[in-house]
């Protein structure tokens, strides 16, 4: 488990990062917390001749709670998400989800930017960001652009981000909704067998808005628009929840692995979603 040789770069500003990316193209990659990238390099599944450490780059950290939205710098660690009291007030689902990622040691290092940019279908933050309708800010040679989380993921490890772009922050609209992040895993530090992110806004006992996204049940996170829509306008009676679950099952496409066969994963996805909906509704 020894990586191939690589050149280590440690720029202090974004211009420096972009310069290395421009010079080496897809031979260069940025390093955030390293807890996805370094294992891949050690397994020699990722060859990265030029590694650009983002640690010293200014302006990539910080959690900024504003009216109506939250800005989270790409280099914010999962631990910082968990520990930020203001964030827990306005967007508590982030903490609930982050606490189910890996273990404390990984969370001290792993970053929000790395988790969403990585493109691994097992990562928990991408589905969560889709559920919350977050926007990613990317900086590249041609300047800054924004992409919706719901439009960002193309296939496993394939995203809308160009090789010479850096993800700088995540912007999440404040939602004030009932929420739940429910995850089934085999053990601590495991990726999901099935996970569901759910937010529900209720008014007078009726669901007026709902958003549902699933993790590790396809080669990308799955925001199931139809599942959310099935809940809107109902008081979450059994028929509505059944409709949401079957809509979700129509959108996911799990594969068999050591966690189990497809049939089991679909069953688990349904159970997990039901639990997430129930919890989110109880908080709505």
């Amino acid at each position: 488990m020894i990586p191939a040789a690589f050149e280590y770069h440690r720029p202090t500003d974004m211009a420096g990062v972009l310069a290395v990316l421009e010079e080496h193209g897809d031979d260069a990659r940025v390093l955030a917390g390293g807890h996805s990238l370094i294992p891949m390099m050690k397994l020699r599944m990722a060859e990265v001749p030029h590694l650009i450490d983002l640690q010293d780059v200014s302006g990539l950290g910080g959690i900024d709670v504003r009216t109506g939205e939250v800005h989270i710098g790409a280099m914010t660690t999962q631990t910082e998400i968990i520990e930020n009291a203001e964030l827990a007030q306005v967007c508590p689902i982030l903490k609930e989800a982050a606490l189910q990622i890996a273990d404390p040691q990984v969370r001290y290092m792993g970053t929000v930017g790395g988790n969403v940019a990585n493109g691994d279908p097992g990562n928990d933050m991408p589905g969560l960001m889709q559920c919350l309708d977050a926007t990613f800010e990317l900086v590249g040679p041609d300047g800054t652009r924004e992409v919706k989380a719901r439009d960002f993921y193309e296939a496993a490890y394939m995203t809308d981000r160009e090789d010479d772009e850096v993800l700088t922050k995540v912007v999440i609209p404040a939602h004030g909704a009932g929420y739940a992040y429910e995850k089934q895993k085999r053990k601590i530090g495991d990726y999901a067998t099935a996970a569901a992110a759910v937010t529900i806004v209720s008014d007078m006992g009726k669901c007026v808005q709902a958003s549902i996204a699933m993790t590790n049940l396809s080669d990308t996170p799955v925001w199931s628009e139809a599942a959310g829509a099935a809940l809107v306008g109902t008081s979450l009676d059994d028929a509505a929840v059944d409709a949401a679950v079957s809509a979700m099952l129509g959108d996911i496409d799990p594969t068999q692995d050591n966690r189990g066969p497809i049939e089991f994963k679909k069953h688990a996805a349904a159970v997990i979603l039901r639990r997430a909906i129930a919890r989110a509704w109880s908080r709505a």
Partner: protein, 809 residues
Amino acid sequence: MKDEVTTREDRVEALGGMGCKRKRVEDARFTQGKGNYVDDLKLPGMLFGDFVRSPYAHARIKSINIDKAMAVDGVVAVLTAADLEPLGLHWMPTLAGDKQMVLADGKVLFQGQEVAYVVAKDRYAAADGVELVEVEYEELEVLTDPFAALESDVVLREDLQGDGNGLPDGAHGPRKHHNHIFYWEAGDKEATEQVLEEAEVVAEETVYYHRTHPCPLETCGCVASMDKVNGKLTLWGTFQAPHAIRTVVSLISGIEEHNIRVISPDIGGGFGNKVGAYPGYVCSVVASIVTGVPVKWIEDRMENLMTTAFARDYWMDGKISATKDGKITGLWCHTTADHGGFDACADPTKFPAGFMNICTGSYDIPVAYLGVDGVYTNKAPGGVSYRCSFRVTEAVYFIERMIEVLAIKLNMDASELRKINFIKKEQFPYKAALGWEYDSGDYHTAWDKAMKAVDYDGLRAEQAQRVEDFKAGKTRKLMGIGLTHFTEIVGAGPVKNCDILGLGMFDSCEIRIHPTGSAIARLGTISQGQGHATTFAQILATEIGLPADSITIEEGDTDTAPYGLGTYGSRSTPVAGAATAMAGRKIRAKAQMIAAYLLEVHDDDVEFDVDRFVVKGAREKFKTMKEIAFAAYNQAIPGIEPGLEAVSYYDPPNMTYPFGAYVCVMDIDVDTGVTDIRRFYALDDCGTRINPMIIEGQVHGGLTEALAVALGQEIAYDEMGNVKTGTLMDFFLPTAWEVPNYETDYTVTPSPHHPIGAKGVGESPHVGGVPCFSNAVNDAFRAFGLTHTHMPHDHWRIWKTANELGLHG
């Protein structure tokens, strides 16, 4: 230094001897990161070795090209079988009487098999070199199923085909098929089958104990250093049996044994994985001889899981017969044992299936039969005892599942069935139907204590209510009550029937008392986390009356330690612990003569009292052991040699038979297959208890490894022979998060033949824990018609069981 003021209890306490919760002396360094493991060793000029491994499970090697690898900056040499062949080292003997390729000789038999060994100036260059060795393979048909292997025309081991005049015998007699290794049996087949035929009730089940791996935190590794000037080879490594390794190295290399020094430094867990000899050791030795500088080899985690000794992989077909009211009349077992590409099991020579013939368990079974067929497949070699004495965990899992299956057949409570059939206290020593003589036991007392502690009847009532609630749609969780009463057989073993490679399985201790009353004791064993430096000093403190804190325990250096067979199979306390006590008694015998001389009385007129010899009838006249020690070095005592030293080689008269009663209470979510262990009660009887705190630690660790195996830990292969669980992402290693609170308890039934009555405990919790967790899962579904489902009970397999029983609507 007379100390009349202190009471006898004070003096006992000051010794820190047997029975006290002495803190582990090892922990000061382990908890501060100050341990000294083989990978901590850095020698001047040291090179690093790394393996090119086969991506295929079965393939012929057409060619190996090392040119590009040799061109890597820092690569010094690349060894292949062709380089080892002139030295006769391209194959090596295994502990099971088979031989194993050191580097692929024309073909490979399992994924990850060693093909070439790259030696370089550092690990990085070695890994780069490994990438660039070009190997051309021709894929062959892969056999991963032992039953299919016994039917197949595909010959896995062409080297064992002989000269065409029939299939030559293997190390354990005739072979039935070219992929067959041995057939071994115990008991009386005919009589057993007769009993089964005529029995009122017979329960049958096939019980598969899946392949798993001991996965110690520290992987295997070594540093070989050949000093060409004085001809001495020093080999540091993760060896559970350093002396045996020295003998093996001598036999296969031709280097005389006195010129080989094997050192096991601190070892980060072994659990059987570090008993055998691996190609990495041989290649490192050869590389050091060739280059004249030290060579280090350290496995990474994937290599450890995929290639060094696995455990289990036993298919056990069982039949158990009984009367209608539950008295067991016979037990029949046929096992198909998947040994992988080479037979590298670590068992005593005469026991190719280990002590699997302890599979009559804790029960008085009049007649029994066990037959075992060993089979070659395209999987990694090994078959070690993962935290158990030789195949004992398989045996106990088998009988404890069969008891449950029989209870279902009889529609009887599984605790009741056990009680009816336990060997009774007065039957010990008990001669079991498959040959062993159990030295001691009191099963009913232990069992009753356990049932009472957990309120067994209350649990069953709660479970019945839960089933009602489930059927009424009030809950989706079932409750399982896992029961196990295990009997282990440890402390291998009597030289008359136990040897490894012809080396009798005695063990040893050598003691030197220093003039000022402190001591060093050296043993033939080697701790891998068991706390020998703590407990062996306690045994000695009690035996020789010097404080445990004044006794250094040293193990693992073959130049200084007396010959011993090492640490595995819970043998250290039963065998080396006995040697320690016996050597201590020799010290005491001489001390008695010295004391008598100093006190000017006859030898028989003094007696030992905690830390001193006192004059009988005049206890105020005494000499402390400290005073005696000094006298041994400064007095000219007529008829007595100066000094105070002793050595003992202990050949145990019998094995010891620890036992225990375990109960697991588990809730199971039938929709997700997620288990929640609500309670785990473990009563262990390991005879005399040397250090209750260390026992408790061993029980916690063993139970945790049992939980791992029962609930998810496996080495799984696909049909192509690819390892599917080669990293810790998929290979289940529990953390504090998955582990329940354990309640420990004990009874004490000393071993009648062991000098201090101790029996060994390191493996009991694993042996007893695995069936207990598994029985809990099975038991949860008993009310819905389940008889048996195979481990590992991970989420999806439990879900599948529930699904097949129609519990998902």
